[in-house]
Symmetry: C2
Subunit: 215 residues, 2 copies
């Protein structure tokens, strides 16, 4: 399979959600016209996107929903469990530890790290919290490639550096700081606060502006 | 002030974070070269972005950090409290209610809505949970324009419709579903699971691929 372009990658989860919904409602097939209606993405683009993951619809019948679900969930990585460590079990970190939805999408947090004596040695949502100095030992025990970064910004770069040193390959960065990592490390930024400011800004510019519906 | 382009809007929070960090370290001025080093954004772009919010640096001195902080926090909407309702106090919803960081960035959740008798009438992180049927009454009491959508996907569109009917103007959509709203409603999508799949995909394509550092 050729490399799937990033815009396509960003749209695939939308199609997956619609298929899940339609399956819940007992439907068996979905046309690209229907997918288009549900996602506001033009049908020809949808057909192109799905052909990237080798899904082809049948004339007059459309796509087989079970098949779409299987291929998309598998392609998006949601059917395999990826182990992760979480760094910074403060407000946002604890919130994520409590979000069991992540596991349903293939991410299992197996341990958390912090520096606060108040929390080290305890469990958050059943997940043990260790001192960051124990990272090396825990890395050797678990096969973990993903680190979730939820520390305060003044610790973000330092903790990211530690992750990289001990073998983390992908960092899910929830801090509003742009961390610096070597070229071979994947960084996925998810700054809730950046999204919040986009929303505030759009809300204030509402008068006369069209709605924006952006990932 | 002219309308700030969206790519600029997406970069401004990065500059804000660096400034907060430098202020914590007792620094007073920051050059665009320094900002560039900390954010991996070219200095000329930074100067352009900051001029969009009427910030101009001084030759050889750079930008005054206190001034940058004030203008950026104000422009990004973090200095004003925006009231919000949260819809769906399940896993992710409760996690967000527990994230007191949101308030520091200008978002105050004043009430949550759900349909589960197990949770209605209770507080989550000090925030009362009401039945969704009480939305109309609560909208009349509070001046709320923002709704956070964290319901399961099979309820997402229906709850979004209710929000719009009762006067919500901006929806922060955490569901992986692309909701349909009238043109004058702002939708900010933050799908953690879509970001997760992007990260999985990059991680699997790691060999020989350059690092991606995307918002």
């Amino acid at each position: 399979m050729e490399k799937v372009p990033e815009p396509t990658l960003r749209r695939l989860p939308w199609y997956l959600s619609v298929c899940r919904l339609l399956k819940q409602r007992g439907e068996q097939y979905v046309s690209s016209t229907r997918l288009s209606k549900e996602t506001n993405i033009v049908a020809s683009q949808i057909a192109k996107d799905l052909s990237c993951v080798n899904i082809v619809g049948r004339t007059r019948v459309g796509y087989d929903i079970d098949n779409l679900l299987e291929v998309l969930e598998n392609f998006l990585g949601f059917t395999r469990i990826h182990k992760a460590f979480l760094f910074g079990a403060g407000r946002l970190g604890s919130a994520l530890l409590n979000d069991t939805g992540l596991k349903q999408f293939g991410l299992e947090v197996v341990a958390a790290f912090d520096t606060s004596p108040r929390i080290i040695g305890h469990n958050v949502a059943g997940i043990p919290v260790y001192h960051i100095n124990e990272l090396e030992a825990k890395m050797r025990r678990h096969n973990v490639k993903i680190g979730i970064l939820t520390v305060p910004i003044d610790r973000a770069q330092e903790v990211a550096d530690k992750m990289v040193v001990w073998g983390i390959k992908a960092i899910w960065n929830f801090t509003p700081l742009r961390i610096k990592v070597p070229e071979n490390i994947v960084v996925q930024n998810t700054s809730l606060y950046a999204h919040l400011s986009l929303m505030f800004n759009r809300l204030e510019g509402l008068e006369g502006e069209p709605a924006t519906n952006d990932i």
